[in-house]
Point group: C2
Chain length 390, copies 2
């Protein structure tokens, strides 16, 4: 990558975040009456549904706190992060300490789920906010929720299984989420045993989910990493494991460019790029079957916003850390395809759900799953990546 | 519809069932080693996954028993229905009397769900098999499972809610399933209070799910039929309510052409055809939002096999019962579009999941959701409809 390209990319990511993504959301999402954020915005930014997803409350609060910590001490960002924390404090926790998944605009609970993802996004939100505000209690609370998650995961029976005992399975999403959550805790609160947990997670992922015989990272395996030759066990989610790849690359850098962890991250990226990149239409495909059967999921060939965002980060970071030009080429492929098809030139921000060939399927901008997270996180990290290379 | 067209249609449906659909499945799906049926077949009929969905065990057993009862006393069909019943008897019931959702090939339970749909499909299977075989115990068991379903639904707390008390909702799938299950019980066992239950269900659907202000049948409403102005409450599934339309038309015919029930069925068909028919590409669209927002479900514009099958039945039955030529035109539109895009000319049977424009998305023929049910049921009913008109 020459200097001009890097300057241009840095501008695209930075301006995209500050002049497109953030203004699009902030124009309509801050609920000054009931607190928190309403993210279910239509294409033009108008509100389609006043409900509040708990994942997105935590994720946006994390983003605001992190921008404040790493980019600029804008009082607006700190105030908004406080606004998010305040709403979660009031409404997102059930009496058992667990968190809800879905609230209405007043904060009344609509749905609670068995998984610990609401909790993980709250951990990173509280940790980033604590560092930004200097409020120690928020850091303590982040660590407390983290300990609760660990307790739930390590106490048999506390997390009701989706399947029967006869075929117990475990998903990649859990160790991945714990890994990035521990990284955030360490970054914002200092290393309170988090690196040790990360060691264990990396070892476990390597042993149980990475399969040399398929050159692939599986999503669902048996309790001891067994390959499960059924639809769920064969399913690959390339964007998801490409996200894991850059979590590992970032970890390798934190550890003075640990060559083993870096190699693991690059291997995953190499494997899953091969599975995910759509050679016919471009972009990262949602699902593949590791035995090349048709996937059970009928939306398997769609292009979602987040796998593209994660691949943009992973390829750029891989290029900076390894110097291998292949990654610069891949980055150009995924960056160009994504920026050609996802941004909405009329109303700003990106569409979330495209057909395989890049045509828009759902024109709205937000729902329970899509909010200001994957895109601005990519813009923030990639602007920084360009900065480091410059 | 002139006589030649009806003869041609009758041939298409009857031959399709006897010479395409049934042979495609029967070639590979009967598990003589472990019992039951394996339906997860690839495009060419080869087995992709040995697991067994309980819905499909019940549905195929029902089909075989019903063909025996209504079409022809083929010993093969009775033997296969017995084969299905035997497997369900051995493996599909949990110790609490409830049923599993997903078994492995040996019949070990993989997943149990909170809903009562496995149970409803078992009811129709046992009822049809009882009539076909003359085995009274199977009819008694059908009624017993039916009573258990009613007990579960009418005892607060027995069906764990998906959402919190704060916004309790109820779905159209439940009264629809009960309605068609009661019709099947009555047909095969005689009227043991089933018509009275059907009266209540029809009244309830009319009061709570049909909304004149939207000219639409909603999928999810509040406990007293309130419109819920959020994604779930606004969601329309036109193929689903078109299926309801013909359940009602059939009920009106059973009741000496009851004009009120017939009018309700035709109204639903008129409403939901308008919502569902894709004026640009043809076929019935999966989801719409009643306020015309983009649906949250990203596969909203795909064309699935079953909404088309249900619309073929509903339009043909509506034409026969009402004599209104509009329905003959609609039937031609949906029949022609479906038969142009869904059948697989090379290996037989139909694809299940097409893109909006009719291109294939998933080429396989079976999974947990798609098996020999909607297509052969449509072929059986529509061949009979043509027969009645001839």
């Amino acid at each position: 990558m020459d200097k001009n390209r890097l300057i241009e990319l840095q501008r695209i990511y930075r301006d995209g975040l500050l002049n497109d993504t953030l203004p699009f959301w902030l124009k309509s999402c801050v609920d000054r009456e009931h607190g928190g954020f309403t993210f279910m915005l239509n294409r033009d930014g108008s509100l389609m549904d006043t409900d509040k997803g708990v994942w997105q409350q935590g994720r946006f609060t994390w983003l605001l706190g992190t921008l404040y910590n790493k980019w600029e001490k804008r009082p607006e960002w700190l105030e908004l992060a406080h606004h998010g924390i305040e709403f979660m404090e009031k409404h997102a926790f059930d009496t058992d300490g667990r968190m809800f998944f879905h609230l209405d605009k007043e904060g009344n609970p609509i749905r609670k789920r068995r998984y610990v993802f609401s909790e993980s996004f709250a951990v990173i939100a509280y940790a980033a906010y604590s560092k930004a505000s200097g409020e120690k209690w928020a850091g303590e609370k982040a660590h407390q929720i983290w300990e609760m998650i660990m307790h739930i995961l390590h106490t048999p029976g506390m997390l009701p299984p989706k399947f029967t005992d006869h075929r117990q399975t475990k998903g990649l999403a859990l160790p991945m989420t714990l890994l990035v959550t521990a990284q955030q805790l360490r970054e914002n609160l200092g290393d309170n045993g988090y690196s040790k947990t990360i060691d264990t997670l990396i070892e476990r992922i390597n042993l149980h989910w990475m399969k040399n015989e398929f050159s692939a990272v599986l999503e669902t395996v048996g309790m001891n990493g067994e390959f499960i030759d059924h639809f769920d066990g064969r399913m690959l989610n390339p964007g998801h494991s490409i996200e894991l790849a850059w979590f590992l690359l970032r970890e390798s850098e934190y550890r003075n460019n640990d060559p083993k962890i870096q190699a693991m991250g690059l291997k995953i990226l190499d494997w899953m790029w091969e599975w995910g990149w759509d050679k016919e239409y471009g972009g990262i495909t949602y699902f593949k079957d590791v035995k090349n059967y048709p996937p059970q999921e009928y939306w398997h060939d769609m292009k979602f916003w987040w796998p593209q965002s994660e691949a943009i980060i992973a390829t750029l970071m891989a290029y900076r850390l390894s110097g291998n030009k292949k990654y610069a080429e891949w980055h150009k492929m995924i960056h160009d395809w994504t920026y050609k098809h996802f941004p909405d030139p009329e109303f700003g921000e990106w569409y979330g759900y495209l057909h395989r060939d890049g045509r828009v399927s759902v024109p709205s901008k937000g729902n329970l799953w899509k909010g200001p997270f994957h895109i601005p996180r990519m813009q923030m990290i990639c602007a920084d990546e360009c900065g480091k290379m410059l």
